[in-house]
């Protein structure tokens, strides 16, 4: 077990390094350069621009920048924003909680709704409830996030005035974004749980359970559900990815704080250190979560535990 974990951690580090290099290169290839957003090329003289570029070090060749960046990174220095020489790491740490809250809330929402509907629709296959659940599930993954977000916003904060339209302070501001994002996650989970439930119900041991005289309720909720849910644990890892991605859009729609918005802005502004920082950071988070998921998985699922 320990052995496997060590292995995973090592490869994870590799992965993280890899992703940051990748992003670095992509960002390096972005046309134009950060200076444009600092200074008005129409009025600035070439000299001004040149000096500025030099100060920012963006006139160095790729390998030089790369080396420099990783040198710093190893020392835990994520660098400073090109726009306002703000250190990146504190910036991320400042904004991450908001994103985390959003991700957590929506994950929770999607898990609760998803599992509930998934199970119901599997048990009542082809009954009305099943139809509803499946449609909800499909809608969840079929609507453009920003659209559903704005719709919710119009209804609940502008027309009904129940919830705040924007901000990231207090649970109230969390409701709408989480709901929007949860819709996606929920969609995935409904479908997944439904499918794995239907598979489990075909397993042989279900017959055994019936032959023991257990009630259908006991069979479904005590045995089938548990078997069906174990695989969905792995979904959590995937979900985190989804949520981080979703945050990019949602945080803009509901003008919440968060790393999603930072990185979106940074990409547009070619603020390389920030983009880098966020991606490396979210990569770490992603890898960490998945590592935890895998480990916990091997505890939840006796089969895996034995294999490990």
């Amino acid at each position: 077990m320990v052995r496997t974990i060590i292995g995973r951690v090592l490869s994870s580090l590799l992965v993280i390094a890899g992703s940051s290099v990748l992003v670095f290169v992509i960002m390096y290839l972005l046309p134009g350069d950060p200076v444009d957003s600092l200074i008005d090329p129409a009025s600035a003289t070439p000299e001004q621009i040149a000096t500025l570029r030099h100060q920012l070090g963006v006139d160095q060749p790729l390998y030089a920048q790369l080396a420099d960046y990783f040198g710093k990174l190893l020392r835990g220095d994520f660098g400073k924003s090109l726009l306002n020489s703000e250190p990146v790491l504190p910036k991320i740490i400042e904004h991450f909680p908001a994103t985390l809250a959003l991700a957590a809330a929506s994950a929770l929402l999607s898990v609760i709704v998803g599992v509930l509907l998934g199970v119901l629709s599997a048990i009542h296959r082809n009954r009305p409830i099943d139809v509803i659940a499946r449609i909800v599930g499909l809608l969840g993954i079929s609507m453009p996030t920003f659209w559903s977000g704005i719709l919710l916003l119009l209804v609940f904060s502008i027309h009904l005035g129940w919830l705040p339209a924007m901000g990231s302070d207090g649970w109230k501001t969390l409701v709408l974004p989480a709901a929007t994002l949860g819709l996606i996650g929920g969609g995935f989970i409904v479908r997944m749980v439904r499918n794995s439930m239907l598979e489990v119900v075909n397993e042989h041991f279900i017959v055994t359970l019936r032959s023991k005289g257990l009630s259908e309720r006991a069979i479904m909720y005590r045995h089938a559900l548990r078997n069906a849910l174990i695989p969905s644990v792995t979904m959590i890892g995937m979900l985190v990815g989804e949520m981080l991605a979703g945050a990019v859009v949602i945080e803009t729609v509901f003008s919440r704080q968060g790393i999603g918005r930072i990185v979106a802005d940074a990409i547009m502004a070619k603020d390389l250190p920030v983009v880098q920082g966020v991606i490396v950071f979210s990569a770490i988070v992603y890898v960490l979560v998945n590592l935890l998921v895998d480990i916990s998985y091997s505890y939840i699922d006796p089969r895996v535990r034995r294999a490990a």
Partner: protein, 298 residues
């Protein structure tokens, strides 16, 4: 669960013995009804994409500046937008690029990812571990960010958006294809082929590949939907297409500012996207069940 080969064979036999055992029941199965509807929807949208001029009442770019933001009416079933363009016609014509984005990015992503996965799954060894690290790497970067970066890097042209979205989808395809290739590679008929003396490539090409494709197929179908969504996401973040005839994502994200004053401008493109994605997802699900040997008997 591990099962002895004999056991497997016996299980097989049980299914053989009674096809009915796994049938989904006397109640009429809805997923077929769904699928039928979905296919119809897709068919219509494809029709729109191919011969919009047969369906659209107005040329999509015609600006009736004296009748802007008209609510839906007989003349303009979906109303008119802030240029005075007929929204219905726009949606009809817009289907083209939306479909294109959906399909092409799946094709590209599927090809690249699929090949990568298949090779690393079949050849294994160092190649495999390298490829998989690469995939893991891509995986850690939220797809939309990758797409965002790429789109930002290359500018919002149709091809670039396709590439951006495709790139984000590659890891998924690679993973699935790899897994599938590996499991197929373990099948007895592969051993059989080897025992006959078929070359490594021959086995890959004639046996492994053909048998590995169905999950990829399913995933691609579902992928069409997510690609279209990703595309519209890019439009929202200001990296969308800006062509004379806008795609649905662009229509939606541009119209969203008018939601309170002229809801129809973005609602109909939005519905179009949702409907299409819904449809491909349904077809995808159906396809999966249909191709899944476990559910075959159903």
């Amino acid at each position: 669960m591990r099962e002895s080969a004999t056991a497997k064979a016996l299980l097989q036999k049980r299914k053989w013995e009674l096809p009915a055992l796994r049938s989904s029941g006397r109640r009429f199965d809805l997923s077929r009804l769904f699928a039928a509807g979905a296919v119809a929807v897709i068919a219509f949208i494809v029709l729109c994409a191919i011969v919009p001029q047969w369906i659209a009442p107005y040329p999509p770019t015609e600006m009736m500046t004296d009748s802007i933001m008209q609510a839906p009416s007989a003349a303009h079933p979906f109303g008119t937008d802030y240029f005075g363009r007929d929204v219905f016609s726009l949606v009809v014509y817009g289907s083209r690029d939306s479909l294109f984005i959906g399909l092409m990015s799946v094709v590209v992503g599927g090809l690249v990812g699929g090949t990568l996965g298949a090779l690393s799954g079949y050849i294994g060894g160092r190649l495999d571990s390298v490829a998989m690290r690469l995939v893991d790497t891509l995986m850690t970067i939220p797809g939309i960010l990758l797409a965002l970066a790429i789109a930002a890097a290359m500018g919002p042209s149709l091809t670039n958006i396709v590439l951006a979205v495709a790139a984000a989808a590659i890891p998924g395809y690679a993973r699935v294809m790899r897994g599938q290739t590996m499991s197929i590679n373990g099948r007895p008929y592969i051993t059989a082929a080897r025992s006959i003396g078929v070359t490594r490539f021959g086995i890959f090409w004639r046996h492994v590949l053909p048998n590995s494709l169905s999950p990829l197929l399913v995933m691609s179908t579902l992928g069409i939907g997510s690609s279209i969504l990703a595309g519209s996401g890019l439009s929202f973040l200001g990296l969308g297409l800006l062509k004379e005839i806008p795609d649905w994502g662009t229509l939606l994200s541009q119209g969203r500012g008018y939601l309170t004053v002229a809801w129809w401008i973005c609602t109909f493109p939005g519905l179009a996207i949702t409907l299409l994605v819904l449809a491909v997802n349904i077809v995808g699900d159906w396809l999966r069940d249909y191709l899944d040997p476990k559910k075959k008997e159903a």
